[in-house]
Symmetry: D2
Subunit: 336 residues, 4 copies
């Protein structure tokens, strides 16, 4: 930690040094540019990262280490592998998760599952409790949806992922799904993060639409610090000034998260674009940027979907895409 | 609802008309600019607002009405008054809520409460369960904090507001506080919104840092549609590209929310700026923009605060500010 | 300048120290947290502010001083006063600039000028060469507009401001106007900034819609470093994710620019909101936030305006607003 | 054009219809949802796109066609090919432009040119007049830089591109370079756009850091409407809230621009990331997203670069990257 004092005032400098000492960290003084600069043998983040910034005479505080620890590559240099019933994220393979935005009926889910499995998807996605901007939009089949998901999962023999939005439901979800999804809007729902940490189930953690990469990794740190290290990060587009696309897919973040963290990183090009025509190009771009997996919305009849129809692929288009991705993966020394 | 078809294709037009009819809405056809335009006698938002956008041949769908209904000024033309033990939000009066970011001890809260009450604040704010970006930051005194808050509230005879972050805690909070605060990061935590709706307690709903005004009003719509119309909206700054300030306080949103909705709107200039030096100017600007109240962080010793020290006022500075705000309120035909 | 080395490598540290010495600045070494930290007796910004960041072994470079010098309050502690024919910006007075977005005819400008002067405006604004997003939009009366502006200025005896968009036209503008406006989209048109610096005419420098406060002050630094210190800063709203308003008026930036710089700061609530209904509340909020002036669009018949009609006030509404602003200014110990 | 009236007021509806008729466009009336909706047989964009929005009684105006015409795929369905001395943008080939951010000396440019040509780059990039945020940063070798560029271009036999920032210099640039670059900060410098339109030289038009895709295409429309259709669009990252990367590379925009426009689209992963470690992954992602070319910063000794060192590749790393891109291009049925 480096603390820049805005004046070489003896009293204020002493207070900072005393507080550092109290926290078990030694501070060193350098005079520079009419200012006193205090360098401390550690970043004192515990409890209150803004504490020193608020002390009298302090102009600026710089942290040398990243605020996230257990998720960082410094902590664990190899990419972690998260295994779900034989499907590995973080290895040479690039698993593709696919399915409808929301479960609408048994038939709709079953048909989609069969189609995406045949095309090459290895995990089924489907929403049951849907977080919707408007209270008047379809909120999902909820409990009934979970039951359908569980039944289809068995019948087609595919692991499933579904978004949990309420800490009170984590237990139910753990029985019904293989991966707990934390949605973008709940990335900083800390009560929920703590609950999925306790669950020990694999977690797919979506980046918040206006969250920095650091905040995303700190959300993962909540889960890993809570005892659950089976985390798959998922970039799904951020909110910018651009109105033409639903979100701006931030592939820089994928390449960077792979440098900063040992966790596998996948991409959701469906939400990241909001337009099915852009899903293909962005799925390919994700792979080229280094993604460890994809999650793609597929609906047997997008025009009749109760949510996110415009960004869903038909099973036919999904099949074509997977084939293109396969040859791309080969050139990148990966495999689908 | 206006539906622009991208081609004058008879088949696709028929499908749209049929679906509208099925939903009990009549559609009218106009040919214009080589396109067929269908105008419907109503906005069909129920269940799936993107449904028509996904139908074949549909280029664009425009909604004529706002998606929020019960919170709109069309629904209720007078500003609603939310009353908490004699303190009215939405009337000529401009109540000021003040207190520390987080409760650190009984003494800290008691001293602050006495000081802000003396200066003119009429409601006490204080955090108990703190949503913090890092798992290693101070997370609040939690249950113990709630008890302190309740005790101080009685002792100094002030209503209190505190942020609830977990649907499982809403009942506890209802016993301990007068206003339930929904924090910015939980604005779209729909499980929580539904729970506070059931509680019938007054709710202070902060705007999410990257939420549009429409999404903010729709979050309020969740609460009002759930049976609780005692809602105070709170602008607290949005996330932009500007790094100099913690957030960008959006006072346009205050003036606009007052036009669009009948709910009272208050401002949090502490989070809206992140710097105590800017709290005064922005508190005044908020009043001039039409705010119905303020919520301000005050700490007896900001340098020792366990959170948000840099943006907290001392009781002395708070006292000076309140006096300046009083004369400002008079010119605006309001009263503090 | 503080340079954090990512490893205590002797060779790399030596290179940094040598380069600092070559630039006439001494570097001091501190070991801290397994890293070597070099503090230099000055910020070496000349020529290449990213130079040290690119050196081998350098992890991070922190600058202690602000990159802007001549515009900073450290350089000049009192607020500078910019005087234009008896109208002072930066004093106790709060001048109001008003007029149409674009000159459409002699009559339109003359009528507006008479009306805004009578209401209390002391400087006339009007566009002649209009920067328009589309090549098919009205581009202004250009040369003819400048002649009309000059004629009306004399006839109604008001100083005038108009936007110059081309370095080749600066000389012409200097003859026709009293203040050269640099528009938001040209804030980093450095060829133009250098030209208006040479002109010695007062300059109204609008903040770019996506420019940070630091970039805005550095644009002013270009002008002052080029020999022209008569600069009025103007906040006019920034681009954010919010679609309801044309821009997000950043009043934090007004309060902050007043702290960081000695230059007077005014606000344009017309562009800052894009809706005439919001101009009044935001004009008041600007004053309360500490603005040294206002620039407001007024059109005798907004519905017929060739540009920016929706955000223009009628002369009647402008008159009402000025009266409200007068009593507000009094409470703030200022004067309109 | 669709005009929604906020009340079925006879008088206001008549005014809109009269104005439409005056402009030679017929309007049709539909009653719907308690509102009158006027559909016009064309989008009346000429002169003033906000005119109708400002008329009394008008609630909202929707345009059916895109505001850009000549650059749209509706106007020209095949991708346009821009040819520069045998190098084609928009064909099956994917040309790579490479070189230093700024020319520092003859030797520096010559060495870089030889290296990038050998690796497979076919056009040389190098800055001469540099737009820099601070007036104290290196501003380029200017006139001398242009002479060096011209000399090196001949000696190594490579076409060259360099950024022109001043309309007064367009003529000089036309003699010295093969492609005129419009930099991101000048994307809406309309005086400059008009001048390069007259020049008839191929133009590389970078997207502004806070410009929408529509504004970018309208900037291109300025050039094409001015008589110059040899335009290459270039995505180079947009400004968002994310501080970890210099910009957020928007590859959605590449895929979308290819759908909306017939112009070739290339990507600048150097500015789009700001970190040389991310240039490789994002260059690959750009190709996968459909880019028609790349522009990459290469410096013989990035640590000594006078600008943008941190984002420049060494010739060795560039050589490795080009080889990886070659095999990627093959899978995408393109060629480097």
């Amino acid at each position: 930690m480096i603390i820049v004092m805005d004046a070489p005032a003896v009293q204020e400098v002493k207070q900072v040094l005393d507080e550092l000492q109290y926290l078990g960290v030694e501070g060193h003084i350098t005079e520079c540019f009419n200012r006193t600069i205090i360098t401390a043998d550690g970043d004192v983040l515990q409890k209150n990262d803004k504490h020193f910034e608020g002390l009298p005479g302090v102009e600026k505080v710089y942290f040398i280490t990243t605020p996230f620890k257990l998720v960082s590559r410094q902590f664990h240099s190899d990419t972690s592998i998260v295994s779900i019933r034989g499907v590995d994220f973080g290895s040479r393979a690039i698993p593709v998760i696919a399915g409808p935005c929301a479960i609408e009926s048994y038939e709709q889910l079953y048909d989609t599952a069969v189609a995406v499995k045949k095309a090459g998807a290895c995990i089924l996605r489907a929403g049951t409790y849907k977080p919707r901007t408007s209270p008047y939009s379809f909120q999902g089949l909820e409990r009934e949806g979970l039951a359908i998901l569980q039944a289809v999962s068995r019948q087609v023999d595919m692991p499933v992922v579904s978004e949990v939005t309420d800490p009170r439901l984590v237990e139910n979800f753990c029985e019904a799904v293989d991966i707990l999804q934390i949605g973008a809007r709940n990335m900083q729902n800390f009560a929920l993060l703590k609950e999925v940490a306790h669950s020990k189930k694999p977690v797919l953690l979506k980046r918040g639409p206006a969250s920095t990469i650091e905040e995303w990794l700190l959300a993962a740190e909540y889960i890993i610090a809570g005892g659950n290290s089976q985390i798959i990060l998922c970039e799904r587009g951020i909110r910018t000034f651009e109105p033409y696309t639903r979100n701006t897919l931030d592939l820089n973040a994928v390449a960077l998260a792979k440098v900063l963290s040992h966790l596998p990183v996948i991409v959701d090009p469906s939400h990241g674009t909001g337009q099915w025509r852009l899903v293909g190009p962005m799925a390919k771009a994700s792979l080229a940027a280094g993604a460890d997996g994809l999650i793609i919305e597929v609906h047997p009849s997008p025009a009749e979907a109760l949510s996110d129809g415009p960004q869903s692929l038909t099973p036919e288009n999904f099949d074509i895409l997977i084939n293109e991705l396969r040859s791309l993966a080969n050139v990148l020394h990966r495999q689908i």
